[in-house]
Symmetry: D2
Subunit: 138 residues, 4 copies
């Protein structure tokens, strides 16, 4: 199955007074990993947005579980893959490892989103092009 | 039931190129709201940590759902309360409103955590003092 | 002279493993204070951008000096004012106090910036409208 | 002269509604580059702190100038070096390039800092060990 592995160096500025990663930063890590997953499939984010007229792929539901803390100076590896394609949304799964140990997991549900000035929030979902989905099947 | 309401101004720097709050910032909002909830119960975080010898109250499981975007210049209100007390962990619920509209929800499971140099990660959980729980029953 | 005072609560997530504000966060504080200064003058950022077709007021030169650390749970007050108006740029000064004590200072030079697809970076400066400057003279 | 080059991928979450790097993030970049410079000299930050009983190397004065914007999807390179060693402080210079173009510059003055519960802020400076300085002369 198509997936991506991304190494992330935990920075001093990612950590809180307890000396461990401030948990919202893990969501920043996961977001960059989703972008890296798309890039591996051939869609760098700037071009993805331009080609499909996307505003972005905003999050509508995300959960993370933390099993072991990480601290500055450590390098973690995140394995990411798309676990489900819907018509206008998709799900991503991230597994974050410290060495062999699974230290955190994240799941995401995101929506293929375009601007629409007539919509309630100025944005609306749109069907995900089949050619995008196909690139993740390789 | 004991709860807290906190107003948050969405800052320019909280928003991404789509012009809406970058979703990891919502977790920063929620984290500050949990701290504000404890403060309302009489436990400012610096004194909480000092009094109970805590390293912190790290997150082990959190989920957020986003129903409507928020943008810079908007003010949102977050209602927070503790929904469950376990022996060493507790759950928090946040509801984020734009005006009357529920725009996002978050749930958290956190652990009462102390340093322990003999433990695997240098930290371990500890029973939450009854006097802490009692303050949230008022 | 026209100025603004803004109270900022130092959050747990603003602090680093040394337990003090991670210094890039001070720049986030200062940025929100510049926006608050404009808001006090009658220009909330969303309307400012819309009214004048601005991309933003990006920074071209900023310096900060830190005299005393701040930590989570503390409240600081930032006094901000515009110290100079140029044709297309302006300077802002921030003084951050912990109680009576000056704990940090920041200066900014920002540019009145619009999109221009023919320009090298896709953006260019534009003269600051006199009506904007006038609002800060009151 | 001893220096380090570090590649940084500009992330979506580093950028603001103008679509360009939110300038406080450049200070996060520079901070990670200072840590990378020390690491290249043989001092990974966790070990540096432990070996010398340091609280950290907090910033007391920093300035950055921005010549060209950077946006998500771009990779920048930062060249960093120490330009001056004082008794208890030192200066760092960063040059951030987009391709051949100098897009930003930063300077830092940091202090070798230890905890001291008898000091006014609970911290004080200490002379920088000669062996540390020596490693940057190689």
């Amino acid at each position: 199955m198509f997936s991506n592995r991304k190494e992330i160096s935990v920075e001093w500025g990612d950590c809180d007074p307890a000396g461990i990663v401030y948990y919202p930063r893990f969501f920043e890590y996961f977001d960059s990993c989703t972008n890296a997953l798309f890039e591996k499939a051939g869609f760098r984010k700037p071009e993805l947005l331009k080609k499909y007229g996307l505003l972005g792929i905003p999050m509508i539901d995300t959960r993370a579980q933390f099993y072991a803390p990480a601290s500055f100076g450590e390098t973690v590896v995140v394995e990411s893959r798309i676990t489900d394609w819907g018509r206008t949304s998709f799900q991503v799964e991230h597994k974050l490892y410290k060495g062999e140990r699974l230290a955190a997991e994240g799941t995401e549900k995101r929506v293929w989103t375009v601007r629409d000035t007539t919509a309630e929030n100025g944005i609306r979902s749109e069907p995900i092009p089949q050619e995008v989905k196909d690139k993740f099947e390789k």
